[in-house]
Symmetry: C2
Subunit: 262 residues, 2 copies
C-alpha cells in the first residue's frame, strides 16, 4: 500500500510494519504444513434446507422498519432485521435463531471501508437465506442479489420517503452508478454539500436502507408467487473476463486493462 | 450507468429501461406512505447473546478445510464453513443452526461483481458472529474485521500452501493493496498470465480463502485468550471524511475530491 497516496505517511508506516511482521510469521507457519488429517465436515441443521418458509410481506411496512432500524443497527443489519423480525413473528424458526444483529459490521461498506453498500449486502443475505444458495438448486436468490445491485446503481436514491422523517431538510436524490458505499455516499455528499457526520447524511442512508428493503420485498413476494423473472443482464466474468462492475471508466479512466483470456 | 463505458450498449440499454420502469413504479408507491403502524420488532433467540461459546481451533486444520471447501462453496462460504463446521462438532448450538452455505453468493466479490473479496467478507461474518456486533458492547469483532482487511491488502497472497495442492503449477504471489476481489484477482491475473476460468486462478483463490481462514483463527484464538490487541490504524471517516479504503490514488489518479466537512 502506497502510504504517500492519502497523506498519512506516519500512521500507515507504523501499521504496515506491524502487519508485515504478522504476515511473515504466518507465512513461515503456513508454508510448512503436511500430513494433515481432514476432519469430516459437520453439516448444519434444518437451516440449510431451502427454501425457508416465507410469507409475503408488505413492502411499505418493511421499508418503515428498515428506516427505524437504521438508527439502531445501521444499513446492513437494518435491511436484514426489517425482513427477519417480521418472519420471526409470522413463521418462527429458522428466522428466530438467525443472528441478524451480528451484521452491524456491514455499516459503511463493511466497518467503514466504503466497499459494498451495507443495504445491498444485507438484501443479498436475506435473498440467499430464504431462497438458498445457487448450489442448492435454485439460482433465484443469486439472481435477486444481482438485480438489487443493478437497481440500486441506477436508482435516484433515496427512493423511499419515510412517513415521519427524523430530519426535516429536503434530502437530495443522486444516482450512484455503483453498488459501493464510497461511491454512493460520495456522490450524494458532493451533490448535497452535507458531510459524512451530518444528520442529513445519516437520514439519507436510513432512507436508502428503507428503499432497498422495499425493493427486496417486492422481489421476494414475486418469487413466492412464482412470478420472478430475471432482469439482470450483467455477466462480468463472461463479458469482461474478470469479476467486475460495469462502470469500468469510473476508476480506470482512459486505460482499461485486457485480462488474460484462455 | 454509462453504457458506453464497457462496450455493451445494447444489453445495458434494455436493462436500464426495465430497471428505470421498476424504479418509477416503486418510487410512486414509496413516496405516498402515511399512517403506518410500526409493529414491535421480534427479537432473536439465544443466537443474539454474545460472545458465542468458542473453543480454540488449529489454524492449519482450519486453512486446509477452507481450501477443500472452496471447491464446494467458493471463497466466502468456505471461510465461514471452515470455522463453523468445527465448532458445530466441538460446541454445537448456535453454530449448528447457522446457515453457512447460504453465503455462497459472496463468491467473486458478491455474485461476481468484484466487490469485497468473499474471503474477507466471510472472515468478518465469523468474527462478528462469535464476538458479536460492536453495539452489543465489545468492539473486537469489528476490530478483527478491520485487521483482516488490512492484513489481506498488504499480504503476499496466497500465503497458504496446501498440503496436497489440486494444481501442480507454481502459484505466483501478489499483493492486492486492497480488500476488493476485482483488484486482488486482477493484479494476480496480470502477474501470472492465467485467465479467470483457469484451474490456476481457482486454486489461487482457494489458497487465499485458506490464508484468510488461518489468520482469522489466529486472531480468534488470541481473543479467546484475552490477548487480542488492536493493530488496525485505518479510520477512514475520521481521516478522510468519507467511508473509504486507503489506496485513494488507485482509482482517483491525480484528483482526489475533498468531501464536505462540518
Amino acid at each position: 500500500m502506497n502510504s504517500d497516496q492519502c497523506g498519512n505517511d506516519k500512521g500507515l508506516s507504523r501499521r504496515q510494519m506491524l502487519i508485515a511482521g504478522g504476515a511473515m510469521v504466518a507465512g513461515a507457519t503456513m508454508t510448512h504444513l503436511g500430513g494433515l488429517i481432514r476432519p469430516a465436515l459437520a453439516k448444519g441443521g434444518g437451516s440449510e434446507k431451502w427454501p425457508w418458509p416465507y410469507e409475503k410481506l408488505d413492502p411499505a411496512i418493511t421499508a418503515e422498519l428498515a428506516y427505524q432500524e437504521w438508527y439502531r443497527v445501521f444499513c446492513g443489519a437494518a435491511v436484514i432485521n426489517s425482513v427477519v423480525s417480521q418472519l420471526r413473528e409470522k413463521v418462527g424458526e429458522p428466522y428466530t435463531s438467525f443472528p441478524a444483529d451480528a451484521f452491524v459490521f456491514l455499516e459503511g461498506g463493511m466497518v467503514g471501508w466504503g466497499m459494498t453498500c451495507g443495504s445491498n449486502a444485507g438484501a443479498a443475505i436475506v435473498a440467499n437465506l430464504i431462497i438458498g444458495p445457487r448450489i442448492a438448486g435454485n439460482p433465484q436468490g443469486h439472481q435477486i442479489s444481482e438485480e438489487i445491485f443493478e437497481w440500486y446503481s441506477d436508482a435516484s436514491m433515496p427512493v423511499y420517503a419515510p412517513a415521519a422523517p427524523k430530519v426535516a431538510t429536503e434530502i437530495v436524490r443522486t444516482t450512484s452508478e455503483s453498488p459501493l458505499c464510497h461511491i454512493s455516499v460520495g456522490k450524494w455528499m458532493k451533490a448535497s454539500g452535507f458531510p459524512i457526520g451530518s444528520a442529513e447524511r445519516k437520514d439519507r442512508c436510513a432512507r436508502v436502507a428503507a428503499s432497498v428493503a422495499f425493493r427486496l420485498v417486492e422481489l421476494l413476494n414475486g418469487w413466492k408467487d412464482g412470478k420472478y423473472e430475471v432482469v439482470s443482464s450483467h455477466s462480468p466474468v463472461k463479458e469482461y473476463g474478470i469479476t467486475a462492475q460495469m462502470n469500468c471508466m469510473e476508476c480506470h479512466t482512459g486505460d482499461v486493462p485486457t485480462p488474460p483470456r484462455s
